[in-house]
């Protein structure tokens, strides 16, 4: 799949998720007899839609790309989706309890957690691959 098709699909996902959230908000507003939708809600819809699009792009199979490119794309898009959530927390969270300092603490914690999860998964992956390769040799010897 080329870049343009990724872009097209992402744009489609963005509009679909925005539309879905818009319908949802309209229905909720109707239930609570609210006649107007605040502008900030539209920005929130956009932020959540973008977060969804970035998560989808991060986890999408990109098997035609090299291992390194896949890893970079995965991390970049996952981070972007997290940034969208952080932006929502910063600007729109209920009660606006968030401030810049708290956001920085969140980002720092996020980086630490991500780095440790990535390291653990990489160590586990190596161990698992070693075990699978040993079993693979046994399997093939058994079949010969």
């Amino acid at each position: 799949m080329k870049f343009i098709s990724y872009f097209k699909n992402s744009l489609k996902d963005f509009f679909i998720s925005s539309g879905f959230l818009m319908i949802l908000i309209t229905m909720i507003s109707e239930i609570y007899s609210k006649e107007t939708i605040r502008t900030s809600l539209l920005f929130q819809i956009m932020l959540f839609s973008l977060a969804y699009v970035f998560i989808k792009l991060a986890f999408m199979n990109k098997n035609e790309m090299s291992k390194k490119v896949q890893l970079i794309i995965f991390n970049v898009f996952l981070t972007l989706s997290e940034v969208m959530i952080l932006l929502w927390l910063l600007f729109f969270s209920p009660g606006k309890t968030m401030n810049i300092e708290l956001i920085l603490v969140y980002i720092f914690a996020l980086i630490i957690v991500k780095a440790s999860v990535y390291t653990m998964m990489s160590i586990n992956g190596e161990k698992e691959a070693k075990l699978i390769n040993e079993k693979l040799i046994k399997y093939k010897n058994g079949n010969d």
């Binding site: 986890f59 199979n61 098997n63 291992k67 896949q70 890893l71 995965f74 990535y118 998964m121 990489s122 992956g125 190596e126 698992e128 691959a129 075990l131 699978i132 390769n133 079993k135 693979l136 399997y139 093939k140 079949n143």
Partner: protein, 145 residues
């Protein structure tokens, strides 16, 4: 396992008798491989039809609703759907590696981790195929892990 071969009169049909108490998975696999040894695949290239031994297949891949059979150097188009191939050969050396591929285990040289639970299988012809996270347990079960 003890294997005995007895001579039979010329002209009579060869027969395989398995003596066991309760057939385990490896024995069932053996029975299946004996049964399916005569099963051949049919592949197409342009207007030619080829009969392919499943043992020569490296992997199957579905691209744009078409299923392709990848052998060491040649590629054929299959008439079967990927799910049909999966159910037909699930008891042999083949396993589903992703939504679009089925790999022959015996053609895998080694596996290496990619990230987020994914693996990359290096085949004997040098090709690299990804094993999706959700299909890694299938692969491991096949290997007896």
């Amino acid at each position: 396992m003890k294997i005995s071969i007895e001579n039979i009169p010329a002209g009579s049909e060869p027969e395989i008798i398995i003596k066991c108490n309760e057939p385990d998975e490896s024995l069932l696999q053996l029975i299946y491989s004996i049964k399916s040894s005569s099963k051949k695949l049919i592949g197409f290239t342009d207007l030619q039809m080829h009969i392919i031994n499943p043992k020569d297949v490296f992997y199957f891949e579905s691209v744009d609703n078409k299923v392709f059979i990848y052998c060491e150097q040649k590629i054929f188009q299959a008439r079967l759907k990927l799910y049909e191939i999966e159910s037909e050969y699930e008891n042999s050396d083949f396993f589903r590696a992703s939504k679009s591929t089925i790999i022959n285990i015996s053609k895998i040289e080694s596996v290496s981790p990619v990230f987020y639970g994914k693996f990359e299988a290096l085949l004997q012809n040098g090709e690299k195929i990804f094993i999706s996270r959700q299909y890694v347990p299938v692969f491991k079960k096949k290997l007896g892990l």
